[in-house]
Point group: C2
Chain length 354, copies 2
């Protein structure tokens, strides 16, 4: 795999596959934080230790053909331009944190982009596995498989009572963060989301926007993940999260029926106006684009709009981010220039239809 294949397409190959409740649950992700027992944590800032970990990974885990996974590429961060790094963040393949400390950081990426293992992020290893729709258990199994594969040649920092040790105490124990990306336009439209989020928080879960911590719920996309990593098994955490997500899916489905029955024509008006804006605007900021893309996707889900792939939501949400726009323009762009590029890239994409 070359770098180009990862950064030229906005949509990851695994996203095109089917998954349970995929109309509402865009993706399931399991992330495991792991550290080597005999190395200083990346947060120590010790350059030598960081470089040692990086070389250890390069030497032992690249060009492996012995996994059930598709082939894995080793991509050192310092080989990438700022825009290329931004693109990987926008595709959720690496974290913003990895960019900030990119001198000794790298990522191992599978060709399907379903697996991403960050090296020298906050922890030595951050194993991430994505699945389309609601498939947290599958993602967990795959993460375990990768964990075993990595552990074969390394000694993890592990404590019999505390579990896996991590840089940040919030990850200690399982080192696992399970998260779900959901499209909840009807719960937003009916304002039910405002009472649901506090309720979800009380259950020890966290609700965030599409780009994680501190990010807005752009395009009615919400990320829901576990807060607690200690004192509960990975399986229990995943089960609890799935149960909440299933309830949210039901609420969203009911809300969709409700708004459609309340006023079919109002909903059609909303959907088609957004479609018209996406197909016609020459300047569009990311916030308006996200709203319109969300409405378009809702229209596709409800059969109001036909002949457009449901993947348009995932694709356009990423395609219209600053990194991608600059990558395609092949240069740095000011905010007002991005608004023009964004409008033009959306029009081009919609003209392609499927």
């Amino acid at each position: 795999m070359t770098l180009e294949s990862f950064i030229n397409e906005a949509i990851s190959p695994w996203m095109l596959e089917d998954g349970p409740d995929k109309d509402i649950v865009m993706s399931s992700r399991v992330r495991l934080a792991r550290n080597f027992a005999d190395k200083l944590y990346p947060t120590s800032g010790n350059q030598e230790a960081l470089e040692e970990v990086l070389q250890f990974i390069r030497k032992n885990y690249t060009q492996q053909e012995d996994t059930e996974q598709d082939s894995i590429s080793f991509i050192p961060m310092k080989n990438l331009s700022m825009i290329e790094k931004l693109v990987l963040v926008e595709k959720h393949l690496i974290s913003p944190h990895l960019i900030k400390h990119s001198d000794h950081a790298a990522v191992l990426l599978s060709a399907q982009e379903q697996t991403s293992i960050m090296v020298n992020e906050e922890d030595h290893l951050r194993i991430q596995v994505y699945y389309p729709g609601l498939q947290l258990r599958k993602a967990l199994e795959e993460a375990y498989y990768l964990d075993d594969w990595l552990e074969e040649k390394a000694d993890y920092a592990f404590d019999e009572t505390k579990g896996y040790l991590t840089s940040c105490p919030t990850n200690i124990g399982t080192g696992m963060r399970a998260s779900i990306m959901m499209h909840l336009p009807a719960l937003v439209l009916t304002k039910q989301i405002n009472r649901l989020i506090p309720a979800i928080n009380q259950l020890g879960l966290v609700v965030r926007g599409i780009y994680g911590e501190g990010s807005e719920a752009r395009g009615n996309i919400f990320q829901i993940s576990n807060q607690i990593t200690l004192g509960k098994s990975e399986e229990d955490i995943v089960e609890d999260l799935e149960s909440i997500v299933n309830q949210l899916v039901e609420h969203e489905r009911m809300a969709r029926v409700y708004i459609y029955e309340q006023s079919e024509i109002s909903l059609e008006d909303r959907v088609f106006r957004s479609y018209g804006t996406l197909k016609n605007s020459r300047i569009i900021d990311s916030k308006e684009a996200a709203i319109c893309i969300s409405n378009l996707r809702l229209g596709i889900d409800l059969g109001i709009i036909e002949n457009i792939s449901e993947n348009i939501l995932n694709e356009l949400m990423v395609l219209t981010q600053p990194g991608f726009l600059q990558h395609y323009a092949n240069k740095a762009l000011r905010s007002d220039e991005r608004d023009i590029r964004r409008a033009s890239i959306i029009r081009e994409r919609l003209n392609l239809k499927k």
Copy 2:
């Protein structure tokens, strides 16, 4: 001619013809107010006198084939439904005043709809002649011709010093009102219109919206007419008005160049977004529709939008009025129902293109 031909088409046949500065000056109109010497004015409310005038006109001026005008139809108001009357008002073929007193009122309409003679409006006769673009002199000549034709069989109320006598003193003298309908989107966009209107008023002219007195300048359409009818010849009034209109045309042209040069992409964004809204909305009120239609027409004028007739402005502005919407629906509609019909009729019209 049957009534249907007048009320089924939103655009009058004469509007399709070319005229000077037609991209900015939508139409020129001359109206002459005339009264018969030996009859009570319509404002007297005397039913007998009103009926007498109506029968006099019917007897003497219908089924005439001796004019250079195309054949003229006599349409008594009481034969029309409320919606049909509304349609004629929206096409500017009759005035709202004529509807209010429709028991003994009528209109003589030419097939091209270029000539409309209202009977028993505020005065016994209101001769109206329309021309496309800036052609007030031609309209005046045609009005004179009709005036002579009408006078052949009647004795007008005329005073040697005061001139033509009218119901309302504001029309006395020439009895003439010359008016111009202009599309001035760039003067509105650059806010220049705000200082131009008071200046025009100071010159003894009146600026109104598309539906005359008290109406808003919907769709950036302004009606400019003479205030004074006394102490100045018809030719002088027309000449003065044309001179002001020519200056406004120049200002509008410069403003269009200015806004296009200032930011081509912003103007394109405005035009295409409006086009997208018109093509996609399922609910649209008359105010938003007017703004979008005006932007679309500006886009056509500037070559931003192609393959759509410039007559779309005149046509859609009329087509989206309450009377027309109800006429097409063949029933009375509530305001919210009209918003839905308006959106649907606009989409249908735009799908036809030319």
